[in-house]
């Protein structure tokens, strides 16, 4: 088991290094000079040059890459060009919105998807199955930003139950903060719950057609007991992968929802940083997101081994 983890760790750090090179080169190619963006139309050439020096934009490509990566290893992502504050601090603040939002959406999606998937699988072909499948088809097809717009129209503008945007801040208490995350979380959770429910159902149906379920029935277990005691745990394995994928998507994919609800999260910060050519922020956040995704995948692999003993022996 340890060797399995070690091997994955090596390939993980390798892909991180490759990712950092790819991101750095890609961001360097982005046309548009941050200094010009900050100093506007009347700035003279020397002021632009002076500012570029201040921002540390004048070093060679390799120097800047090494200083960036060196900094990251020490947890210092460098200073943002536009905000002039340490990027790590900005990320810290924004993480306090993106992470809870992602977890909130993931919990919602899992709480909806598991019962729906299991219920549909256990009553295959019945009205319940068809209706769950129909609803999830809709859930997958609805563009979540459109759904968000409609929710704002109904719940914020007409019914005034929720504020239409902005983030109340954690210091205003857990509930108000969660309240301002509710609509965005629902908008994010809808498609994810639909996908997860469908995967849960098909994975459960596959497992229910396995031989050991028939053996269990032959031992006297009722259909329900066979499902809960044997089928469910076996069916969890592919579902775990999907949950892992969804979490990494929610961390980065919330850009548009954060924009619709003007939540100052990671996604929106990067989006604004791209248009402001605040390259150091873009590089660092994308690197962080890639790192988060790889770590989540690694955790899912370990979880696999925990759930499935056959993997435990391998390697």
């Amino acid at each position: 088991m340890l060797r399995f983890a070690f091997k994955r760790l090596v390939s993980l750090s390798l892909s991180l290094v490759v990712a950092s090179v790819v991101i750095f080169l890609f961001v360097e190619v982005v046309p548009g000079d941050p200094a010009a963006y900050m100093l506007g139309m009347n700035a003279t050439e020397e002021t632009l040059a002076a500012l570029r020096d201040q921002l540390g934009l004048s070093g060679t490509l390799v120097e800047r890459y090494l200083s960036w990566v060196g900094g990251m290893l020490r947890g210092d992502f460098g200073t943002s060009y536009t905000y002039r504050t340490p990027v790590s601090e900005m990320i810290g603040e924004r993480l306090w919105i993106s992470l809870p939002l992602a977890l909130y959406a993931l919990t919602l999606s899992t709480l909806i998807a598991f019962p729906a998937g299991i219920w549909a699988a256990s009553k295959r072909g019945s009205v319940a199955d068809v209706s769950v499948m129909g609803l999830t088809q809709l859930g997958v097809a609805i563009p979540n930003f459109w759904f968000a717009m409609l929710m704002v129209l109904v719940f914020s503008i007409n019914l005034r139950w929720f504020s239409a945007g902005g983030f109340a801040g954690w210091e205003s208490g857990f509930l108000p903060a969660m309240k301002s995350l509710t609509l965005p979380a629902i908008a994010l959770a809808l498609p994810q719950a639909s996908i997860l429910a469908r995967v849960m159902r098909s994975s459960l149906l596959d497992t229910l057609s396995e031989d050991f379920i028939r053996t269990a029935r032959a031992k006297g277990l009722t259909k329900r007991q066979a499902l809960w005691r044997h089928a469910l745990r076996n069916a969890l394995i592919p579902v775990l992968t999907i949950i892992g994928l969804q979490f990494s998507f929610l961390m980065a994919g919330a850009i548009i929802i954060e924009n619709v609800f003007s939540l100052p999260g990671l996604g929106r910060m990067v989006f604004q940083a791209i248009s402001a050519r605040d390259l150091i922020v873009v590089e660092s956040v994308v690197m962080l997101l890639v790192f988060a995704v790889i770590v989540v995948n690694f955790a899912v692999d370990i979880a696999y081994a925990a759930v499935d003993p056959r993997l435990r022996v391998r390697g």
């Binding site: 088809q137 717009m149 409609l150 503008i157 994928l245 997101l289 995948n297």
Partner: protein, 282 residues
């Protein structure tokens, strides 16, 4: 499954028929829009802006007074074109990579392709799409490239998985006994038996492509004016949602129904091709 049997089963599967009809409606709208459109979408008459549905304009007009139905028809062209080409890129590069990785399982090539896939999967797709359009400028073509890139690993991984199981089959061993090389076997034996899977996944990726294009143009990075696109229509309508809700509802519905149609078709095709389902019979 003889030819007629195939068609018979196809017609019986509800989701396939419903999906095909829905998708056909929008493909038809896109094709017809080349020749005829209820109102010319380039001409603007600001006086009769934001009219509700009904009367001369079946679905109402937008904030420049343009006919929303015509915009949706022409917008269908953009969305479908972007999604089709993106899936084409995904298949065009992904399938050969998958076949090559499976043919030389365990070799360095296999490892490189698989690690490459994991890496591309690790990147947040929407963010990278935004950066691509930031570098090369926002346009339908760049949206195609941005979405296409993220289709490649999907098809590569799918093809490799399916090909690996086929390589253990006896008829591949028979072909090797007949002296055929890995590449020839990959295209003569493996690929034909993987096409079903590719068609099903193709429809799913097609629908995801439409959603991705809509998202990109919603943040202003997809097709540029005067080329209409559903995502941008949504973005424009957002501020007027309380005074002209129809401007937001119809483009959203267009996206929803197209994606729904494609997903239903994908499901129907999957059941049709899946021997397990067919043997037990509906």
């Amino acid at each position: 499954m003889t030819e007629t049997g195939f068609l018979g089963a196809a017609l019986r599967s509800r989701s396939l028929v419903l999906g095909a009809v829905l998708t056909a409606v929008f493909v038809l709208a896109a094709v017809v829009s080349f020749a005829w459109v209820p109102h010319d979408i380039t001409s603007m008459n600001v006086p009769d802006r934001m009219k509700g549905p009904g009367g001369a304009h079946l679905l109402g007009t937008d904030h420049f007074g343009r006919d929303i139905l015509s915009m949706i028809m022409v917008g269908a062209r953009t969305s479908i074109a972007v999604a089709v080409v993106a899936v084409g890129i995904g298949m065009g590069f992904g399938v050969p990579l998958g076949l090559a990785a499976a043919a030389r399982k365990g070799s360095l090539l296999d490892e490189v392709i698989m690690r490459g896939n994991d890496l591309v999967f690790a990147f947040p797709s929407l963010l990278i799409a935004i950066m691509i359009t930031a570098v090369f400028g926002a346009s339908a073509l760049n949206a195609i490239i941005a979405i296409g890139i993220f289709n490649i690993p999907v098809f590569a991984r799918l093809t490799r998985g399916a090909a690996l199981s086929l390589w253990t089959r006896d008829y591949v061993m028979a072909a090797r006994v007949a002296g055929k090389g890995a590449t020839r076997i990959s295209f003569e034996h493996i690929l034909p038996n993987v096409t079903n899977l590719l068609i099903v996944q193709g429809t799913i990726q097609f629908s995801l492509g439409i959603l991705a294009e809509a998202a990109l143009s919603y943040v202003g990075l997809g097709a540029q004016p005067p080329l209409p696109s559903w995502g941008r229509m949504l973005a424009d309508s957002q501020t007027m949602i309380s005074i002209a809700p129809h401007m937001a509802i119809f483009p959203g519905l267009a996206i929803l129904l197209t994606v729904l149609g494609l997903n239903l078709m994908g499901d129907g095709l999957r059941d049709l091709f899946d021997p397990k389902i067919r043997r037990v019979g509906r």
